[in-house]
Structure formats: structure tokens, C-alpha cells
């Protein structure tokens, strides 16, 4: 279980900087370091077991359905990386405490760093491939945040974006590879995958898996041709570069290659891909490192080159080559982190990282100089530093490999070129910054025309505070010590890492400075000689290099990005042009397409259920409906006509319901029809009366075709269903209605009992719609026409007398009818919905006949309150069944002997129906009365109308 503490401690560490922010920079930094150090301590307690080749693992189930477990392991390879991540990580945190300027938001920075540390630890400790991938993506995200930390700088933003795009694109490829592996192996657990090497290599998917995994690893580890994001990531604060781009994130790809070596390695595909890419990256990176002017640029390209070196070694694949690869991972992390720190110091002290403007700093900054000298010599591979040891091993392997058959001699030659270039850029870094005389005739100085600044910086530059150079100095000294005592300091660690990677194949190896006078030593000497020569002739070299400007991958990337964005924009604009009509047409088109597809699978449109005969009345009804619908559509420019035709259709629909045995529906449709016609006529008053313009014939054609196609599809679908026998659950309701619900009107019993919960939802929607309109009409600024288009004013007779009288007479009758309909609802057609609508219409009639003020004075009811009370009654009835221990909305009924009335059935469903009734009345009136009140209260006067009329006419 202690394993889980390692990532948990660093994760908890992300909170420390935020909590200790107020204590000041120094204390906050130290507190931040505490938890990672503790995690490092836990790792170290396992050292002795790991050195003997043990694997410690733990597992907590997380998403077993996906094969994803929270599984961590600790083996030699993990140990090597964990030491780098936590050890160098702590040094860099310490350094960053001094590096960041006091105004910087350091708590955010440190939190990101700690979170990144957690993600890295997660990658190297993950014992499940999916878990590994999760952490892998997390590092990509955090590197985006860290590279873009100075988000006010455009180069930082661009660099961060580029790094994120490249690495997460690779991450997706890796995910695909991992899923394929999991599919073949049947598990994502690391030990299963590592044990299934033969199975994987034998699979026909093997080439695809290797391609995908290598894409992930190469993008992460900045291998050619995906290297281009790394130099741009140098826009990050230097501690980030030192951490992410020397020792951790860029090594994640290499870690993955080493980790999966038992599962995927040992084939010619694997070996040749790695060797080719590694060689190309090694030479390419070294060449461009030599041509860079920016200190961090040199370091970035040299990192690319050294990562290529490690990939090359992994590709060569012999047991000793893998040992050398692991050893170089350690060495490179040590000297590169130190060099980045020194570059940060130089930048900090002189204000520039341009190597042409620097020089002669040795006397001013001797300590920084010493540190750079030590680490730089290690990078150049000069004895007795650690870099020399691993380079010797590389040369030995390169000389002996037979990978390319007769062409194998190419490998040592290219490695030699890479090594010479490496010597050259390392020496250039040291010489150019600390020893070269700064000549004022330098072209660069003329160009930049900042000679004065240069003077100042050179005078002010001095060694930084201890905290800033000590971490780097420590690492640099470690480079020397590892070089001098490799068997004591590095061999056990590398041995255990090698055990984890190649198990029993681990060779007995001996790190030593002196192997005798042999070919690799000669090659080393040649490389150093050539390197010095290259440095001496550097200006000539730059001139040659500037002649052949290679096509920069950055440009390709940027252009591709722009092109993709343009293409996406083009597609988006085709689909989304801001016109709702366009969206609707597209939506309809796809609906038509999909339904047509379904219908085309149907053998015969007419089913075998047989047809019913047609009667004359039905034909007449159909003709009226079709006439109404079509004229409503055609007359849409004359709105009142269109509306009248609509109401014809609505009335005919309710007659249709009568014809086909649905009395409840007919009642509902009829009363809704009345309410919605009143509503729509009111709406006409507020909407522009002028008919809209004719539109283009093409557009009309499109709409007609779409509408016709849709109508045809609906008709065909309906016909197909109607002529087939369908499975129905009707019998259940018909049988259970009386014994289960206590009512003979099955439709009503379904509404208030069987599907009571649905009904509750529906009256809630109704009430909410009502409340929504209430809010929408609040403080409305209305256009109020005072007459029709021809300029004829609205009639000044406000309320017709006959209507007044009739409405008053009808009201008690109508209310009585609604009570009757309501009460009989459970057994005969009727019920809460219909009764509610009838009541609402009866009351509306009063408002129409007498006006808003008159009626509301006599009927001082707040309709929203009515609707909400209705809802509450319905809910309370439902809750009531809980009191008796039944589920929500269980109904019960009984027969009671009530004096004078006789034996009566009373059901709790009736109570629920009262709720429905009140909600319907409240919501309907809430909408209509509120809208109506606006017309009456702010009725335009004659004066106002004269001002308004021309304005309306212009529109």
C-alpha cells in the first residue's frame, strides 16, 4: 500500500504552494519540496529489494469493466526514473524559488510543477497501460500550462499550443495502439502485456501496433520528424525547460520504449525503425544545435540529439546497448538539467541568451562558469565525465552492430559525425559564453544596435545567489563523480533497471573510463579533434549553413494548422450560417433520409391486416381538413385567413377523434382549440401586420419539395403501421382499470393512476410554461398598432353588448358543466384536464366580454398561485401514499355511503385530478389573461396612435 503514497504525496503537494503562499517565497518553496522529498524517501526504502530485481506492485480496482485499475508498480526501471523525477525535481523547485521574479504568481507555477511531477510519477509507476496513458495525457496538458506560463507572450502561447498539438496527437495514436494491445492480450495489466510478447509479435496487427506506439513515443520524445515542438517549447520559464525538457517529459517516450521492449521489441521492424529514427535525430539535432544562437535553443536541439542517441541504442537492442541506453538516460538528465539551470542563471544575470552577445563572463561569473564547464564537458563526452562512458559504449555498439548487413558501417560513421558535432556545440557553448572576447565589430551587435545595453550587462553580471547555482553545481559535480566512480554510483541502479527491461538477458557489464587502446577510443579522440576543428571554423560553417535553408517543420506545422482551421471554417459556414431556416432544412433532410431508409427495408407498404371501408362523411371530413391545411399554408401572407383555416383543421381534428372513438381527446382538442385561437388572435395584434415579401422561386421550390417529401414519408409511415397488426399492451389497462384504479374510463384512469407520474410531469411543464410566459411579458416594450394596414383604426366600441349579456348568462352554466365533467371523469369521458380547460375558457369569455379591469376587479385571483397550488395538491396526493407505506402516487379508492347522495365512490385519484384541474386552469389563464391585460391596460389612445402609425407603416 505504501506505493500509493508516492503519487498521493506529490498530488497532495500541489496544494502546499497555495496554502503557504503568504509565508513568503523562500518558506513556501521549502514547504513545497517537503512532500516530494518524502515520496523520494519512500522510493529509497525499497532500493535494496529493487537492486536484486524484485518487482513491487499494488492494485486497487477502479473501472474493471474497462480493464482499468489503479495499479502501481516499482521495479528497476521505475526506480531510475523516479529518482530523476523526484530528485532532480526537488532541485529544480529549489532553483525556481530563486529564478522567478518576486511578482510572479509562484504558487500557481509550483502547483503546476507538482501536478506535473505526479503525472510523471504516474507514468513510470503505472502497472496498467490505460492508467499509463491517462498520466501520459496529463503530462501533455500540464506541459501546455507550464510552457505557456508566461501567457502574455505570444511565443509562449504558440510554443505551448504546438507542444500540446503534437504530443496529444501522438497520445491518441498511442491510445489506439494500447487498445489494440489490450484486445490481443485480453488485459491491460502490465505484467500480462509484458508476458505476452510472443503473442503480440505473432499477431497480424503487430506492424500497426508498433507504428502507433512509436508515433506516441516519438512525438513525446521529440524524435525526427516530430522534433520541432521542442525548440519552440523553450519559451517556457527555464526551470520548466530544465525539468520537462531535459529529464522528465521528453524521456517519457523513451521510458515507454524501454518499458514495452519485452512486449514489442526484438523484431527487425522494431530495431530498424528505432535505429533509423534515432540516427536521423542524433545527427539532425546535433547539426542544428551547432547553428543555434540562443543558449536554450542550443540546449533544446542538443536534447533532441541526445534523445535520438538513446533511441538509437534501444534500437540496436543488444543487451549491452540497452544498458548503455539506460545509463545515458541518467547521464543526460544530470548534465542537461545542470546546463539548463546555468543558461537560466546567465539569462537572469545578463538579460540575454544570445550567444553572439555574450562572452568573457568567466572572470565575472567563475562559479557559473565552473558549473557550465563541468556539465558541458560531460555533454561533449570528454573523459573523465559520465557522458564519456556512455558515449564509449555507444561507439562500441555502433562498431559491432550488423543491423544493416553490409551497410552497417554507416551507423558508426553517422554516430561519429554526431559525436563530433556534439563536441563542437558543447565547446561552443562554454567558449562562446565564458571565454570568447566580445568584439564590438560583431555583426550581430550592429544589427541589434543595442551596444549600450551590452556594456551595462557585462558590468553588472556577477554570480547569482547561492540558491541559484547550488542545484546545478550539485548535478555537475555528480556528473564528474559518476564518471570517476561509475561502478559504485551508477552500476547497481542501471543493473536493476536493465533487469526490469531485459530480465535474464541483462549482461554482466563493467563501466570504466579505460578500456584499453581500441577503436571506440580512437573514434572518441577523432570526434574531439573534429569538434574543435568545427568550432574553429564555425563562422565559415554558419555561412555554408545559411546557404541551404532547410524547410522548417515549424512552417509546415503552422501552414497545416492554418489550412485545417480554414477547412473547418468552410464546413462550418456551409452548415451554420446563422439562419434557423437553413438548420431546419438540414435537420428535416436528414430525418427524411433516415426514415426513407427505414421504409425502404419494408418489403410491402400495405400490411396484411386488411382495410376498413370508407364512408362518405369521412371523405368529406378529409377533404375539409386537406383544404384547411393547404390553404392555411398558401395563405400564410394573409395571417387572419391562415389562422381561420388553421382553426378549421383544429375543429376537424376534434371531430376525427369523435369519429374514431376517442371522446376524451375530442373534448380536450375542442377546448384547447378555443384557447389557442384566442391566444393567436391576441398575438396577431402584436406582430407586424404587413405580409412578408415574396421569396425567390428557388427557395420556394426547395421548401415545397422538402415539405412534400416529409408529408409523403409521414403518410407512408402511417399507412404502413395502420395496415399492420401491432402488439399492444392495451389489454392490461382494460382489465385492470376497474379492479386496480376504480374507474371505468380507462383513459382517465391511465392519466391519474397508472401513468400518474407522467401526468405530474406534464402539469409541471404546463405550469412552468405559464410561469415562463409570465416572466417574458414582464416589462415588455410593445409595438402597438392603432389600426390596420390601410390606416383604418380599430373599433372604438370596446365590448359588444350581446357578448356581455351572453357571457354573463353562460358563466354559471359553463362552470356547472365543468364540475360535472370533472366528477364523472373517472367513469365517463371527462376529467381534470378537460374540466380545467372548460373552466378556463368560460372565465376567458368574461375577460373578453367585459374587459380586463372589470373582470379582474370581480375575480381577484392570482393565476400563478392557482397553478402552483394545483401542482402542490397533486404532489401531496402522491406523497400521501408514502404515509401508508406505499410507493409514490399509489392510489386507493372505496365506496362510501354519503347521506342524501347515496353510495359514492371516492378515490385518492380524484384528489390528484383536482390538482391537475387547478394546474390547467391556472396555467391557461395565467398565459392568456396576462397577455390580454397588456392589450387593455396600454391600449393606444388616438394621440399615441397618430404618432405610432407612420412608424409602423415604414417598417
Amino acid at each position: 500500500m505504501s506505493l500509493l503514497w508516492i503519487p498521493l504525496l506529490t498530488l497532495a503537494g500541489t496544494l502546499v504552494p497555495v496554502l503557504t503562499e503568504t509565508l513568503g517565497r523562500r518558506r513556501s518553496t521549502l514547504a513545497t519540496m517537503a512532500l516530494p522529498l518524502l515520496a523520494l524517501l519512500i522510493v529509497l526504502t525499497h532500493t535494496s529489494a529493487l537492486f536484486s530485481g524484485d518487482v513491487i506492485s499494488m492494485q486497487v480496482g477502479w473501472l474493471p469493466q474497462l480493464g482499468l485499475d489503479l495499479a502501481f508498480r516499482l521495479d528497476g526501471l521505475t526506480l531510475l526514473f523516479a529518482l530523476l523525477i523526484l530528485g532532480i525535481g526537488c532541485l529544480i523547485l529549489f532553483y525556481a524559488g530563486y529564478y522567478l521574479s518576486p511578482q510572479e504568481k509562484d504558487s500557481r507555477f509550483f502547483s503546476f510543477m507538482l501536478l506535473f511531477m505526479t503525472a510523471m510519477i504516474g507514468i513510470v509507476m503505472a502497472d496498467n497501460l490505460l492508467l499509463l496513458w491517462l498520466f501520459w495525457e496529463l503530462t501533455s496538458l500540464l506541459s501546455f500550462l507550464l510552457i505557456g506560463f508566461w501567457s502574455h507572450r505570444s511565443d509562449a502561447r504558440r510554443g505551448a499550443r504546438m507542444a500540446l498539438t503534437v504530443t496529444s496527437a501522438g497520445g491518441l495514436a498511442l491510445l489506439a495502439g494500447i487498445l489494440l494491445i489490450g484486445n490481443i492480450v485480453g488485459s491491460f495489466a502490465m505484467q500480462d502485456v509484458l508476458a505476452a510478447g510472443d503473442q503480440l509479435r505473432g499477431s497480424s496487427y503487430y506492424p500497426l501496433i508498433v507504428t502507433l506506439v512509436l508515433l506516441g513515443a516519438f512525438t513525446k520524445s521529440a524524435q525526427f520528424p516530430f522534433h520541432f515542438w521542442l525548440p519552440h517549447a523553450m519559451a517556457a520559464p527555464t526551470p520548466v525547460s530544465a525539468y520537462l525538457h531535459s529529464s522528465t517529459m521528453v524521456k517519457a517516450g523513451i521510458f515507454l520504449l524501454a518499458r514495452l521492449h519485452p512486449a514489442l521489441g526484438d523484431t527487425s521492424l522494431w530495431a530498424i525503425s528505432l535505429t533509423m529514427v534515432g540516427l536521423a535525430t542524433l545527427v539532425y539535432g546535433a547539426w542544428f544545435a551547432l547553428l543555434q544562437r540562443d543558449l536554450k535553443g542550443i540546449l533544446a536541439f542538443s536534447t533532441v540529439s541526445h534523445l535520438g542517441l538513446v533511441v538509437l541504442l534501444l534500437g540496436l537492442g543488444s543487451p549491452l546497448a540497452i544498458v548503455a541506453a539506460l545509463f545515458h538516460i541518467l547521464n543526460h538528465a544530470l548534465f542537461k538539467a545542470a546546463l539548463f539551470m546555468s543558461a537560466g542563471v546567465i539569462d537572469h544575470e545578463t538579460g540575454t541568451r544570445d550567444i553572439r552577445r555574450l562572452g568573457g563572463l568567466w572572470t565575472l561569473m567563475p562559479l557559473t562558469g565552473t558549473l557550465t564547464l563541468l556539465a558541458g564537458a560531460a555533454m561533449a563526452g570528454i573523459p573523465p565525465f559520465n557522458g564519456f562512458l556512455s558515449k564509449e559504449m555507444l561507439l562500441t555498439e555502433a562498431v559491432t552492430t550488423q543491423l544493416f548487413g553490409g551497410l552497417s558501417v554507416v551507423i558508426p560513421l553517422l554516430v561519429l559525425i554526431g559525436a563530433s558535432l556534439s563536441v563542437a556545440y558543447s565547446l561552443r557553448l562554454i567558449y562562446g559564453v565564458f571565454f570568447a572576447p566580445r568584439s564590438p565589430k560583431d555583426n550581430a551587435l550592429k544589427e541589434s544596435a543595442t551596444g549600450e545595453n551590452e556594456e551595462e550587462t557585462s558590468i553588472q553580471a556577477h554570480d547569482p545567489p547561492k540558491g541559484m547555482y547550488l542545484p546545478g553545481m550539485g548535478l555537475a559535480v555528480l556528473c564528474l563523480l559518476v564518471g570517476l566512480f561509475p561502478m559504485t554510483l551508477a552500476a547497481p541502479l542501471i543493473n536493476s533497471a536493465s533487469l526490469a527491461v531485459q530480465g535474464l538477458h541483462t549482461p554482466v557489464f563493467h563501466f570504466a573510463l579505460w578500456h584499453g587502446l581500441n577503436l571506440p577510443l580512437m573514434m572518441s579522440l577523432i570526434a574531439i579533434g573534429l569538434g574543435v576543428l568545427l568550432l574553429w571554423r564555425h563562422s565559415r560553417l554558419s555561412a555554408v549553413a545559411s546557404l541551404l535553408t532547410p524547410k522548417d517543420a515549424t512552417m509546415i506545422f503552422e501552414r497545416a494548422t492554418i489550412r485545417i482551421v480554414k477547412a473547418a471554417l468552410w464546413v462550418t459556414l456551409r452548415l451554420e450560417n446563422g439562419s434557423l431556416q437553413r438548420y431546419q432544412a438540414l435537420l428535416l433532410l436528414s430525418a427524411i433520409g433516415m426514415t426513407a431508409l427505414g421504409l425502404s427495408r419494408l418489403g410491402l407498404l400495405t400490411g396484411d391486416a386488411g382495410l376498413q371501408p370508407v364512408d362518405g362523411l369521412a371523405i368529406l371530413g378529409a377533404i375539409v381538413m386537406i383544404f384547411g391545411a393547404v390553404s392555411s399554408a398558401l395563405a400564410h401572407r394573409w395571417r387572419l385567413v391562415s389562422l381561420l383555416m388553421l382553426s378549421v383543421v383544429g375543429l376537424m381534428v376534434s371531430l376525427t377523434f369523435v369519429r374514431f372513438s376517442a371522446p376524451d381527446l375530442a373534448f380536450t382538442q375542442l377546448s384547447v382549440e378555443v384557447a389557442s385561437m384566442i391566444l393567436l388572435i391576441l398575438a396577431l395584434f402584436f406582430l407586424p401586420q404587413r405580409p412578408p415579401r415574396w421569396v425567390s422561386p428557388r427557395r420556394l421550390m426547395r421548401d415545397i419539395i422538402l415539405a412534400t417529401a416529409f408529408g409523403l414519408i409521414i403518410a407512408a409511415l402511417n399507412y404502413a403501421v395502420l395496415t399492420r397488426e401491432t402488439l399492444s399492451i392495451a389489454n392490461f389497462f382494460l382489465e385492470q382499470s376497474v379492479p386496480g384504479g376504480g374507474g371505468t374510463n380507462v383513459v382517465n384512469v391511465i392519466l391519474v393512476d397508472f401513468r400518474g407520474f407522467d401526468t405530474l410531469g406534464e402539469i409541471t411543464v404546463l405550469t412552468l410554461a405559464g410561469l415562463g410566459t409570465y416572466k417574458l411579458l414582464n416589462r415588455l416594450r410593445l409595438f402597438k398598432p392603432s389600426g390596420n394596414l390601410e390606416g383604418i383604426r380599430w373599433s372604438r366600441h370596446r365590448y359588444p353588448l350581446i357578448l356581455e349579456v351572453v357571457a354573463q348568462l353562460i358563466l354559471p352554466l359553463a362552470l356547472l358543466v365543468s364540475v360535472y365533467i370533472f366528477l364523472r371523469g373517472h367513469n365517463e369521458p371527462g376529467g381534470g384536464f378537460i374540466a380545467g380547460l372548460i373552466t378556463a375558457v368560460a372565465l376567458l369569455l368574461q375577460y373578453m366580454a367585459r374587459g380586463y379591469e372589470w373582470t379582474s376587479n370581480r375575480l381577484p385571483i392570482s393565476y400563478p398561485v392557482v397553478a402552483v397550488i394545483g401542482l402542490l395538491i397533486a404532489v401531496t396526493t402522491g406523497l400521501g401514499s408514502w404515509v401508508f407505506g406505499y410507493p409514490f402516487l399509489t392510489s386507493s379508492f372505496g365506496y362510501f355511503d354519503i347521506p342524501l347522495i347515496g353510495k359514492t365512490e371516492l378515490a385518492t385519484a380524484l384528489l390528484f385530478d383536482i390538482g391537475v384541474y387547478l394546474a390547467v386552469v391556472g396555467a391557461t389563464l395565467m398565459i392568456l389573461v396576462n397577455l390580454g391585460s397588456i392589450t387593455t391596460i396600454h391600449r393606444p389612445t388616438l394621440k399615441a396612435s397618430q404618432q405610432n402609425a407612420p412608424a409602423e407603416g415604414k417598417k
Binding site: 371522446p663 421569396v695 382499470s737 380507462v746
Partner: protein, 114 residues
């Protein structure tokens, strides 16, 4: 009878769709109402077309399927609530935007724009 019924739903929905594709709010509201008639009839017919067979126990020998009826009944009421909401939304939009085009743009080119 089945053919006639589906013809009516087809024509109703075609007219509704045609109106829905207009550029002004009022025809769209009318179209929506027409379309909801069509949809209600369609849903209702899923229980089959029965004559003189109200779903009341004891009223007929073979009662019609009550479930689609119950569903359509609520659909009618909800449809009314929807229409009301859209009508008021259209009024509000007209008041806020100064025109009654569905895209909210002043209508001269609005209806023709592609």
C-alpha cells in the same frame, strides 16, 4: 379508411413543414400548430382506427386502445403550453429586436439569405 387517414396526416404535416420553413414568426407558429395536429393524429392512430369503441369499460364490446389516447391527451395540453410559450416568445422577440424574423435579423434580406 386507413389510406384516407394517412393522406390527411401527410398533408397536414407537409403544410406544417412548409409553414415552419417560412422566415416570419407567425407562419412558423401556425405551422407548428398544424404539425402538432398531424403528430397527434399520427400518435393516436398507433392504437388503430376503431369505430364506436370508446375506451370505457362496459360501453362497447372491444374497446379501443386507451394508451395512445391518454398520451395524446396530455400531448394536446402540452402542445398548447408550447404554442403559448412560443407565441409570447415571438412577441417578446419582436419587441426586443424590432422585427419578426426567426433569425432575429431585420427582414429584408433575411428571408432570402442563404
Amino acid at each position: 379508411m386507413e389510406l384516407l387517414f394517412s393522406l390527411v396526416t401527410g398533408v397536414l404535416s407537409a403544410s406544417g413543414i412548409y409553414l415552419l420553413l417560412r422566415g416570419r414568426t407567425f407562419p412558423v407558429i401556425v405551422g407548428l400548430t398544424l404539425l402538432s395536429y398531424a403528430v397527434n393524429l399520427f400518435l393516436f392512430s398507433m392504437g388503430g382506427l376503431h369505430t364506436n369503441a370508446a375506451a370505457v369499460i362496459g360501453a362497447s364490446e372491444a374497446p379501443a386502445d386507451p394508451l395512445p389516447q391518454a398520451l395524446v391527451l396530455t400531448a394536446i395540453v402540452i402542445g398548447f403550453a408550447m404554442t403559448a410559450f412560443i407565441v409570447i416568445l415571438a412577441i417578446r422577440a419582436r419587441a426586443e429586436l424590432g422585427n419578426d424574423h426567426v433569425d432575429g435579423k431585420q427582414g429584408d434580406e433575411g428571408e432570402q439569405s442563404k
